[in-house]
Amino acid sequence: MTERASTDAGAADGDRAARRLKARYAAERRFRALGLAAIACSVAALLFLLVTMIGNGMSGFRRTELRVPVDFARAGLRVEPARLGAIDALPALRQAGLSQVLGQAAAASLGPDGAAELDPDAWREVARAIIADPGLLQRRVVLSLPASDNLAAAQRGDGQRRLRPLATRLAAQGKLVRAWDPGFLTRADSTHAQSVGIWGALKGSLLTMAVTMALAFPIGVLAAVYLEEYAPRNRWTDLIEVSISNLAAVPSIIFGLLGLALFVGLFPSWRSAPLIGGMTLALMTMPVIVISARAAIGAVPPSARDAALAIGASRIQVVFHHVLPLAMPGIMTGTIIGMARALGETAPLLMIGMRAFVATPPAGLTAPASVLPVQIFLWSDEIDRGFVERTSATIIVLLLFLLAMNGLAIHLRNRFEKRL
């Protein structure tokens, strides 16, 4: 090779270089295309998941209803008004024969075969309506009652063949309709896809989250303040830091095992209660809050601290009057993200027994409850088409909650970044 290879290179050499350059650019293009394909794959997976859930789930907000006219005034349903206000109003109405009254009205309107396809839990909905408005008992009304799962399937064109003519007939008469089901958001679990609702699980989730928040937020923020502002550099502090970063990466199911061995062991009567669930999830969420709170506190400029210290504030006052308020949006962002993760968590709650069939919304923190993700898990075992729709609809509700929380977190983060 001469001193300057490129200048006095022969034509053949130049040709070779050109070919080489072409190959290098081809590799560049291939690589770019590969990267784009990877992104497309990931996005496609997300879209496919969402489309599947929305496609299945939108019809989960509807149900198949039978329109049945009932004349309560003539049905002779005798219940003392005082009992309707009592805690056992539901059993009272049942004893008074509400179920039979509905059955007779259905038979008169739909025929005996139609009446047989009334959802067995239909009377409960009517009973709740009566408790809410006792005046119903004096009126003649057209009730929208859930059809049985079988009839609902027949109306879709699958399920038992023998019911299809009945479904066609009733639908033609306008007595069998597919209608929006706002009750889905206000009822609790049931054994029939037609009469299930998610309020029970939603309320359980909210109660559980309240416990988690009440425990994890103060502990997490205080621990972060200690580690970031006061902790001396020593072996103990190192140990705390190592355990926090490791806890943040421990599989959630391990927290479930701890919850089972510790909390359920200590308070066996609160098994599957939001209190225990919330405590278990708090252990899981706390490290996440500590980590993000430390980052937010660390991002507060030292000038803010120095200014306060210079006018004679104590170190506690500096932190609680100046540093924490400035760091709060950042802390909230991390907290919301941690809470969103806890809201979607299933495995640890299965461990502590929150997988029971709970047909009434939990009355309090110590009552047995379900939560949204566990409800999804429980219904996912049902192969009935109705349950598939309901499960997907529940997923949509859960995802909407998570989306709202993440949106809030992103909003806070943007505001936080602007301020600092």
Partner: protein, 461 residues
């Protein structure tokens, strides 16, 4: 027993303490020549309020947790309790029903005996509620008075209050250690009990897994507790299949987004990846069971496999891989961003193409960070529960065929603990032994990965 009423009373007591202490501190101040105290009156007030409120409040909480046990013990001494069966589930059920009736949580009882116990319950509950309330108030009053008597014009109330706050901060940060210790201790205790039934060697290296939680505890068939097939299933699904999906897709996405993508594309894709990361695992599990598993089964049929299973390692692994994509991509993103820009410029200035720069400079330089990220991703994949519970299957087998169902450690933990098995049965205890293995493996992965990341960051600072 609800602690709400005692807690409200404690709060009232603390408020009274706060007001009285502040008034006293103001009197001190007026009496002082310079009109200045060592601490402002607020701190005197807070000192007394905290002293009065904290011990009493903690006692009220503890009482509400432990008094139900006392109530039952008192009920059992009542004459009506003599009719109870001596032991077993019926006795517990009757007691529970009676308790629910007495607290108006239920309206009816299956056992007539429960109704006869209600008065005893009501009486016991009322008794212990009164006792608890009295002790709470006395305690609060005593500690509050003690604090109040300590107030002097030269009392350093602020230092005292700040000392209490510091103690609270320290306690809060100890919660992490306590949790770690709690996990370790509870796993260790149950694992120890399990190893009394099944020798560790048989558990770790046996290749046959079929515990029967309903079998008699008596002589245990130790050869049905070989966890090797579970470890293999976990490895095959979480490490092999999931990583085959997640590493290429996550890594390539991160590289393209950081090195090539226009700001507009980045603005759209980043939130989408974040959304992928935010989808709950139970949703992924449902997606796997409902959509992916049947598709994989059809694929198996198309490939000519006889009888492909409807639950397969492939379906679970694929979906798990999708779940891990954003995780890998954000770790790779961080690792690549940590490589100094001079390194990239140095390569570009030599006339390297972007691909050559990425391939020969950026990735080698970011490799420790990327590897650490992948280790964290693996630790996450093997700890993932819901996807495998819903899509991987329960059959423990050592097979290399991804179309067959495999089972994992997490699946078996759920399976062993959600039945009706008692805590003394080796099948139940085996879940804790599996949990111990999982905990130690993920701990090791996390520990090493965090070390690598730390070193890597320091290298470029």
């Amino acid at each position: 027993m609800s602690p709400v009423i005692p807690l409200l009373l404690v709060l009232g007591l603390a408020t009274v303490g706060w007001l009285v202490a502040r008034a006293r501190a103001r009197i001190f101040r007026r009496a002082r020549p310079g009109g200045r105290l060592d601490s402002r009156p607020q701190y005197h007030a807070w000192f007394v309020a905290l002293c009065a409120g904290l011990p009493a409040g903690l006692f009220a909480l503890a009482w509400s947790a432990f008094s139900p046990g006392l109530v039952v013990m008192r009920v059992l001494q009542a004459p009506a309790a003599a009719a109870l069966p001596a032991e077993g589930i019926l006795r517990d059920a009757i007691l529970a029903e009676a308790g629910a009736l007495a607290t108006r949580h239920a309206t009816g009882a299956f056992h007539p005996l429960a109704r006869t116990l209600v008065p005893a319950f009501e009486q016991a509950i009322a008794h212990y509620a009164q006792v608890g309330l009295a002790v709470t108030l006395l305690l609060g009053f005593a500690t509050g008075t003690w604090a109040f008597l300590r107030l002097r014009p030269d009392f350093r109330a602020r230092t005292q209050v700040e000392r209490m706050i510091m103690a609270a901060l320290l306690l809060a940060s100890l919660a992490a250690i306590l949790t770690t210790f709690g996990i370790f201790a509870s796993l260790l205790a149950e694992t120890w009990r399990f190893f009394r039934f099944v020798p560790p060697g048989d558990f770790l290296f046996g290749n046959h897994w079929s515990p029967d939680p309903m079998a008699d505890v008596g002589p245990v068939a130790t050869d049905s507790y070989g966890a090797l097939p579970l470890f293999w299933g976990t490895f095959a699904i979480g490490v092999v299949i999931a990583m085959l999906v997640a590493i290429p897709l996550g890594l390539m996405s991160a590289i393209h987004l950081t090195q090539y993508a226009s700001p507009a594309l980045r603005r759209w894709v980043k939130p989408m990846l974040e959304m992928l990361a935010g989808v709950p695992t139970v949703v992924y599990g449902y997606f796997a069971a409902l959509t992916v598993a049947p598709a994989v089964r059809r694929l198996g049929e198309a490939l000519g496999l006889a009888n492909p299973s409807s639950e397969s390692a492939l379906a679970a692994g694929l979906v798990m891989g999708i779940m891990i994509i954003p995780f890998v991509s954000s770790m790779a993103d961080d690792a690549i961003a940590a490589v100094p820009a001079e390194m990239r410029d140095g390569s570009l200035a030599l006339g390297a193409t972007r691909f050559e720069t990425i391939h020969r400079v950026l990735i080698p330089a970011a490799l420790p960070g990327i590897v650490a990220g992948i280790m964290l991703a693996i630790s996450r994949a093997i700890g993932e529960t819901m996807i495998v519970v819903m899509a991987a299957g329960a059959t423990a087998r050592l097979t290399a065929n991804p179309f067959e169902s495999m089972t994992t450690v997490t699946f078996q933990i759920v399976a062993m603990l959600t039945g009706e098995g008692s805590f003394d049965h080796p099948a139940t205890l085996s879940a804790f032994a599996l949990g111990m293995v999982l905990f130690l493996v993920t701990l090791a992965l996390n520990f090493v990965a965090l070390r690598v990341v730390l070193r890597f960051r320091q290298a470029y600072d």
